[in-house]
Symmetry: C2
Subunit: 253 residues, 2 copies
Amino acid sequence: MIRVVLIGGGNLVYQLSYNLLKNSEVDLIQVINRSLDSIRYLENKTEITNKLSDIQDADIYMIAVSDNAIADVAEKLNVTGKLVVHTSGAIPLEILPENCMNGVFYLPQTFSKGKKLDLSVIPICIEASSPEGYQLLHKFANTISNNIYELDYKQRCHLHAAAVFANNFVNHIYHHSKEICENGNVDFEILHPLIQETAKKIVGLNPIEIQTGPARRNDIITLEKHKKILGKDQIELYTFLTKSIMKTYEKKL
Amino acid sequence: MIRVVLIGGGNLVYQLSYNLLKNSEVDLIQVINRSLDSIRYLENKTEITNKLSDIQDADIYMIAVSDNAIADVAEKLNVTGKLVVHTSGAIPLEILPENCMNGVFYLPQTFSKGKKLDLSVIPICIEASSPEGYQLLHKFANTISNNIYELDYKQRCHLHAAAVFANNFVNHIYHHSKEICENGNVDFEILHPLIQETAKKIVGLNPIEIQTGPARRNDIITLEKHKKILGKDQIELYTFLTKSIMKTYEKKL
């Protein structure tokens, strides 16, 4: 049994704790969070506390807090020699205590509280400061997912930036798409199947090769037509992204 | 039986012909296209021709060609009194022949040749110039999909512009996300589950309310970190979209 202590109270802790409590190879012995209210749902399932000083003996300590709180938690941890990992895509491993084995356990996924995902298909990116650390992290990650990747800090930063594009920026585009529909008195639901299919297409197809639309075919008439019905912020986005697409394919010629 | 003639040879004709040939309420009696080669796959399944003058008698004539070719086809059609529809999201109905019933049959979806989609769940947006036209178009569309929407030209233009965001712009963002991964020697496949989940989330959740990421939380340290590893074009996109997200939420405060 791998004994695990989780530190944090956000969506990742929600997902992981749910998974680890069902996991026959892992014992989630404790969850620690500043605010007990955020982890109250775990009350009768594992030990919960808001005091780092009450920390239990375990094999893995996972700091699943926001980036700017990791250093503070790491500093207060007193678990010499144990494996301490954080879960951030953008922070180096060296932020963790020197007297421990250090590691990273990064899931490039978007979690919502209340929505349980099947973690077995979700990639886990790991890094460790020692072979023993890698061994234990692999063993642990394998009990959760079938897709484990070893990534160093530089690779992880690239992946994290790419995830900002694929998740944050795409969601922002969805927001504007919805707003355009609403401004035109059109039900945004009409576009749901298109959105799902656009996402599905990148599995197996290269996005640069399947780009379509007025910007791709230099269709000035449609571009001007669209600009006439868009709001100010939307026109800015539309103009910028249209130019960006045109530039991409000019280069290809 | 509704007798249909399709004009065109692209991905939409591929999808529709496949569907209509299996459709027990529709008789696809002819497909007409400038290039016979593009519709050769239909050779033993229905009549194919490259001559508009050989057009057969039917109930619905569907002009499924690119926007800038619709007028030319419409002008050459000689099918007085029949229902003639085009399939464009951005062209008004009035482009069609005056001596016919006119209509629009617009599917806001992305089609790839060789990949057959289940059209029964795909929205069809219709418009007609007369009640008889609406009646026939509804009857026809209902044999294909369970999601039929009546949209006028203004609504359709908004939907079309919103589809450019949700499909073309999002695909362009995917391309850059992939490129960032490749530049960092990271397998883009790691992000596939994130991309699918981001798309799934908008069904039921409002994108403006689930926006996350460094831009949303004004995380300057991560933003600067990302800019250091991005290429020139990516930095431009990153900076612009980050500002766009920040502006959206400043307004909300």
